[in-house]
């Protein structure tokens, strides 16, 4: 006789999931239509049927540390076909948000990031930081000299890096802490539910699995399997590649500046600039398409966390691009202002990455890698 699982429903967790957009979860009557219609659910221990009952029973431990919630690409087929309107897709999405909140430390930040009332405070943090540090160090000059617009004359590159580099380290550190727990949890859960034949996580094999899974992610192969998702896949891919492109550009810029002491702005003919502009456009167009789709989407819930991410991506792209355009148009005041706003977006991106929906980039990658590694079928 197997050991019985001791059930301790967590009513608060149920309420949390409801608040995060999974408000219909209790409507589930366990017919398993969702698992049947899901195009990417595995044949053994398929999701999201088991997640639905675990959620309605408030079994937090079975959900937060469950890699399966990340294998879902949120196409919404299950929600469309659900005979009771329980919206499994939205429930899984809410559970993912809860998982991000759970693994990120400090918790208070995570709570604040998912609370619309705290948005003004979160936005005012970079503003205050920029101004205070800028004025104290003198790296922020509200009257930049010269006929040519050079953004670093207004907001010194030093100032940017004084703030952004530690921020990147903070994000990475938070992710590192979170992922350590996350991996341990999903492994424990996989063993408990019999989803893996591996006893321990072998780091080398795990990295090999990561390398194997990266093309799948880049090509959006899983994403494309979701029937309802076809349209969204392209837009999502544009946003992803936009971010990757801009990450490369920023890295090149960083190296060139500190190693070769060459400062921007670069000429429009420079290939790095080409990459920057193409990536920026991809980000803007991609995020705009996603916003449009979400607006026209009547059959799934769009919560605060979804909108923050979309507005953030779109805002980053637009303010970046406009800063450049106004610089070329020699509209100094406007350009400097836009640059300031752009930096606020960048700050928000870095600072709250591990707490926001954008963290799915990391969690889903890890979960998919784990599934690949552990032979999840």
């Amino acid at each position: 006789m197997s050991e019985a699982f001791k059930v301790e429903p967590d009513i608060t967790f149920i309420k949390d999931i409801c608040a995060l957009g999974g408000g219909d979860l209790k409507k589930c009557f366990q017919c398993a239509t969702c698992s049947v219609v899901c195009p990417i659910s595995p044949d053994t221990r398929p999701f999201p049927r088991k997640e639905m009952i675990a959620a309605s029973w408030g079994l937090k431990d079975k959900l937060i540390g469950n890699a399966d919630i990340w294998l879902c690409h949120n196409c919404g087929d299950c929600s469309t076909k659900c005979p009771r309107g329980a919206r499994p897709a939205d429930v899984l999405s809410a559970i993912r948000a809860a998982a991000i909140e759970e693994y990120a430390v400090p918790k208070s930040v995570a709570k604040a990031v998912n609370d619309p009332n705290k948005l003004p405070i979160l936005l005012s943090i970079p503003v205050v930081l920029f101004i205070v540090i800028g004025l104290l160090t003198g790296l922020l000059n509200f009257r930049p000299a010269g006929d040519v617009i050079v953004h670093s004359n207004f907001f010194s590159s030093w100032l940017v890096d004084i703030i952004m580099v530690p921020l990147a380290i903070w994000s990475t550190a938070i992710f590192a802490i979170a992922l350590k727990r996350f991996l341990a949890d999903i492994h424990a859960n996989a063993i408990l539910e019999g989803k893996t034949d591996k006893k321990k996580i072998d780091p080398v094999e795990f990295v090999k699995a990561l390398i194997r899974i990266i093309p799948t992610i880049l090509k959006h192969e899983k994403f494309n399997e979701c029937t309802e998702n076809r349209e969204r896949a392209t837009a999502h891919m544009m946003v992803l590649f936009g971010f990757i492109g801009l990450f490369i550009v920023t890295s090149i810029f960083f190296v060139v500046m500190y190693v070769f002491q060459i400062h921007g702005p670069y000429s429009q003919l420079n290939p790095v600039k080409w990459l920057a502009n193409i990536s920026g456009l991809a980000l803007i167009i991609g995020s705009a398409l996603l916003i449009k789709q979400r607006l026209s989407q009547k059959d799934s819930v769009s919560s605060y966390k979804d909108w923050t991410l979309l507005v953030l991506a779109f805002g980053l792209g637009v303010t970046g691009m406009l800063t450049q355009m106004t610089r070329l148009a020699e509209m100094a005041c406007l350009s400097y202002t836009l640059y300031f706003i752009h930096l606020i977006f960048v700050f928000y991106l870095f600072a709250f990455l591990p707490f926001s929906k954008l963290a799915h980039l990391v969690y889903r990658t890890v979960a998919m890698t784990y599934a690949e590694y552990s032979n999840r079928k």
């Binding site: 050991e3 699982f5 059930v7 429903p9 009513i11 209790k26 088991k50 009952i53």
Partner: protein, 768 residues
Amino acid sequence: MNKKYGVYICTGCGIGEALNIDGLSAAVKKARKTAKTHPFLCGKEGVEVIKKDIADEGVNAVVIAACSRRVNTDVFRFDGCIVDRVNLREQVVWSHPKGDKTLEIDHTQMLANDYLKMGMARIDKILPPEPYKLDNFTRKILVIGGGITGISAAIDAAKVGYDVTIVEKEDKLGGYAAKVRKQLPVNQPYTGLVPPIISDKIRELASFPNITVKTSTMVARIAGQPGDFTVTLKKPGEMIEFDVPFPLPPEMKVDSNGKELDKDKLIELYKDYNKGKNDILSFDPNGEKFGAVVLAAGWRPYVPAEGEFAHLGFGTIADVVTNDQFEAIAAKGKILRPSDGKEAQSVVFVQSPGMADDKDFEYTGSVTSLVALKQAKYVRDDYSDGKAYIFYQHMKTPGLQELFYKSLQQDPGIFMTKGEVISVSKNGSGLVVEADNTLLGEKIQVKADMVVIGTGMVPVTVDDPVINLAYRQGPGFRDNAIFNGYADSNFICFPYETQRTGVYAAGCIRRALTMEESIEDATGAALKAIQCLESSNRGVAVHPRYGDMTFPDFFFQRCTQCKRCTEECPFGALDDDEKGTPKPNPTRCRRCGTCMGACPERIIGFSDYNIDSIGSMVKAIDVPSTDDFDDPPMRILGLVCENDAYPAIDIAGLNRLQFSADVRFLPVRCLGSINVIWIKEALSKGMDGVFALGCKHGDQYQCHFVKGSELASIRMKKIGEALASLALEVERVAQFEIAIDEFDKVPKIINDFVKLVTDLGPNPLKGF
């Protein structure tokens, strides 16, 4: 009755093309009757022809050879005339090929000829019915039980002007409905519990001057028959001379060797067994008169036997209670544990006893599912952090109660799963419930303060006859065991009908029902009681042969007092006296003819359906022998139940299914009415085989008359023994089962039997 015959042959619907109509007319002429043909007899002109003959020539015995008697019933109804319908369409031309003139034998034509002759033979022997009228007729309705069902039934009947008396054995009205904290929703939007509505109902009841309420009263006996019941009431616990006598139990009817005691000894024993009680045939002069009875005596909570549900801790752990006990706790106030009075914040509701079986508790139905939901809500209402778990094998929430289920599902503190509860054990002061095969995919344990087991609602007819009928067959319903003790006569077809005419069951005595369902049920039973009154007063049958004006007539001079009719009547319509002479009670009768089938002296018959009429039809069948043909065709008689088998054969014809033309169908009211003399006559006439085709019998019977097809099967077996002594093979007589929708099986049943008989060879008695 001076009969003036008219025979009308329709040639429409393919009859004219398939048959030689002149040949049929000649057969009519041979019977010294006149035939008229018409191409469209059911049309206005066709009917006009018949009506003109009735008006001008005084025709009053009409034979219509056309379509099945199951269609065009209104068209071919002629007041003051007796009518026979010869089924040339469905059972002749639609189910048999057109005769081949080049062959020696035209089987289809012979079939039509025989049917026409049988129709004419019948009309010779039957008479128009004269209704039986009661000398005293009472329109009052007696309602037994003053719970929500009884009250609702009384109100419904009173609203349309009937006088009603409610008897309730408790000292006040309301029943269980008055004992609950809250009840399931009865109105839109069906999402939440509502305060008990019983007090409103009682108030409404009081506003009807034509309703009499008698509390602390019960029925001592109900004597007589529908429309004229004599009812004796008494206080509970009282012993009076009009308490109903009970028949002797089977073990008292035999001596120590198992041999049945003689008649006088039995009477003596019976009198001794019922000492101090008057016989059923002596009526209480002070009895109250009623016309019909609504039985709404309800249910009692199931009481588990000692040691039953031990694995659930029932009986050993104080905090494991039944849903009824939980309701009593909830009605008192906050839900507290019986063991120590502490708050029960976590309660597990067990809906099925488990033990490797997915059956729910006995006597549950959908009610216990809904009650578990209701009581889960109590827990949530009492404690904001309360948790209620429901482990079910079936979550049954019929009708709009589904909305209630849905709304409770939304409660974050209610947890439901299908699953088998294995054990309930103590853990400190609390309990641990373990369940397997849950939707959570594994064996689980839940901590609980209390466990509630969803036991059922036992109809009171399990314990006691309740109605206390002064009938010779006994005071309660016979064969109630196949309905698990519920007062029912058929699980599907006849709601409210019990096995006793004039007694209509409603509410939880009939099936486990919610209060909402019970209220609706009450209306149904009240309407049935009214239908009974408004039929009995006109001398027509109530159910299922509604409107039938005939009733069994007894030729008592020849009665041998064998009591078979009294004992075999499925509805207890006959009461015999001390000598054993049956006393008919026509308004109790459902006109199935089972008595006629039972009577060895053949003294029972109906004006239009009797031993002679059917026997004459059998005799009218031509049985060709070697004198007529070198290789004479077989002749087989099919006695078919007109409720299921006859329609099935018609539908087979409608679907143009073909079957042997060697069989002659003869519709009977019920297989129970088949008297073996008909079978003997058929065989002695040289017919090669006889079969009865009727509905399923046994526990899942489909018989309109409950016992008819079962009794027939017993009699068929007995006749088999007699056949063997005549050197006839027992296989020549058979009985087959068919349901009304199994028309596709008709050809196989018939053809297989024809083949079997053909293989046996012709009846050696043929031609004598």
